[in-house]
């Protein structure tokens, strides 16, 4: 014990670790009425770290070559000891991360935490959301199965609806007129290097903004004692008399992560193929499109929108408009009121939008 204390003292006198702990952990006060939804960010950080670790492990055996990719994934699943576990954790983890991200966004939305002075937190979070969609889409191709191949064909082909530049953009995305070995190379580079680096940088920006602005207080629960931002100059939103991040809220974070892990491991061990249709087990064949090819569950609403509108450009434009509206929400919804029940128009629009998204997804799944 004394050896550990000596080591801590040795470091402390050099870089002042105790001061950092006091400032960033034990003395970092959060609103008294903070709730469990505020730990979704930590859950997401944990989920992303898990994806990075399992992804690095998969890189040891995965071969990003169109002739060998499917075989290498099959070998990971069948021949490499515990390869199935690593791959299932990565595949299930990607779906679970999207789910956790949606819950995080919904909690921010309904508690009005996106409102000023936190517009930039929302915008960086929204870009992170699109990047997570991007990393999921690019990762989808890597097993080089029928599902991968044709889902990517459909997804990349959507860009062809853009007037003038569309067809060139599709070819640029694919690296060739059709999805093929050049597409695998591009998507592999995007999936393992470009997008993860972007996500890591944006997570840094997101957390930096959170630390500079201060944690928002929920609009309900115990009365809060925060110093409200007035808008004239920068001021950190303190929560005097609040609860310390460590150990109090760190335990709340741990609890949320434990719940996430319980659900995650339940899927991995009891229903590992929940997110795998049968086409995921057939090697890619560029000459045979399987029947009923569908995207991942979180793209089903987009997929169904494209099916509803016979004109692809209208379908894409609508999706683009919806995404732009969501991205700029803090600049559209400028009122100070944050309690959801005191914002009937907001509640009607957001609940309606959510139901529409769920409805389109179910329709897309069943159609």
């Amino acid at each position: 014990m004394s050896l550990i204390k000596k080591a801590v003292d040795w470091i402390d006198v050099r870089i002042g670790t105790r001061e950092i702990v006091e400032k960033e952990l034990t003395g970092y006060l959060l609103p008294r009425n903070i709730n469990g939804w505020y730990s979704m960010g930590s859950v997401l950080l944990f989920a992303f770290a898990l994806q990075v670790v399992t992804g690095m492990l998969l890189l040891i055996y995965y071969v990003p070559d169109a002739d060998k990719a499917f075989k290498s994934v099959t070998a990971i699943m069948n021949d490499v000891p515990f390869g199935w576990l690593i791959r299932m954790c990565h595949a299930v983890g990607s779906n679970m991360m999207v789910l956790a991200l949606l819950f995080h966004m919904l909690s921010v939305l309904f508690m009005g935490s996106y409102k000023k002075p936190r517009e930039l937190n929302w915008v960086t979070g929204f870009i992170l959301f699109t990047m997570v969609q991007g990393i999921s889409l690019t990762g989808y191709l890597l097993p080089w199965s029928q599902l991968s191949f044709w889902a990517t064909t459909v997804a990349t082909n959507s860009a062809s609806a853009i007037p003038v530049a569309g067809p060139y953009l599709v070819e640029f995305l694919r690296g060739s007129p059709q999805v093929g070995p050049p597409t695998l190379g591009r998507f592999f580079a995007l999936h393992v290097a470009v997008i993860p680096a972007g996500i890591a940088a944006l997570i840094g920006a997101h957390v930096f903004l959170l630390k500079r602005t201060g944690v928002s207080a929920p609009p309900f629960g115990l009365p809060e004692t925060m110093n409200q931002w007035q808008g004239d100059s920068y001021s950190y939103e303190k929560h005097p008399g609040g609860i310390p991040f460590f150990p109090h809220f760190a335990l709340e974070d741990m609890r949320s992560i434990a719940i996430y892990m319980a659900i995650f491991l339940a899927v991995v061990f009891y229903d590992p193929y929940l997110f795998f249709p049968k086409d995921a087990f057939i090697p890619a064949n560029p000459f045979v499109t399987p029947a009923h090819i569908k995207p991942e569950w979180y793209f089903l609403a987009n997929y169904q929108t494209l099916k509803i509108f016979p004109n692809e450009l209208i379908g894409l434009s609508l999706q683009g408009a919806a995404m732009t509206f969501l991205a700029l929400l803090p600049f559209v919804d400028c009122g100070r009121e944050r309690h959801p029940l005191k914002r009937p128009l907001f509640m009607a629009c957001s609940v309606g939008g959510l139901l529409l998204w769920i409805g389109l997804s179910i329709w897309g799944h069943l159609s």
Binding site: L57, I60, D79, V80, P81, F82, G83, L85, I86
Partner: protein, 140 residues
């Protein structure tokens, strides 16, 4: 105070134990995933037609996941070795004119019998067993 302290110690030990079990549960699959695969190659035999190894020449081939060599010495005797230099693991080359092996990495020399004749190799080349039957040489 004592009760509190005992309870904290007890909970700490329980938590530490659970943490250790969890760490082991994660580490074991991870170790197995990363550990090199054994078996497979080791049991394999390689069959080479006798005519592929003329007198005074050597035939290199893959054996047990590494490189091996068959040599028919002048006079007709056959020998088989691992082609891995015993110094630092490079693959030796057959010098037909000198009838010996040269390791290109650090200049080790071996005779056609695999014995070290010059340079840093500490041991002779590892001999491999083989059998000749029906015009074929079976190594391993």
């Amino acid at each position: 105070m004592d009760n509190n302290s005992n309870r904290r110690t007890f909970l700490g030990v329980c938590l530490g134990g659970l943490g250790a079990i969890a760490a082991a549960a994660v580490s074991w699959p991870l170790f197995r995933y990363l550990a090199p695969h054994s078996g497979g190659d080791a049991a394999g035999k390689v069959v080479i037609p006798e005519k592929d190894v003329p007198e005074g020449e050597a035939k290199f081939f893959e054996f047990a996941g590494s490189s091996a060599v068959l040599v028919r010495k002048r006079g007709g005797d056959l020998v088989a070795f691992s082609a891995v230099c015993t110094h630092l693991g490079c693959i030796v080359q057959w010098e037909k004119d000198k009838q010996d092996f040269l390791c290109p990495c650090h200049g080790g020399h071996y005779s056609a019998d695999g014995a070290v004749t010059a340079g840093p190799p500490p041991k002779p080349l590892k001999r491999l067993t083989f059998a000749v039957a029906g015009g074929n040489i079976t190594v391993g």
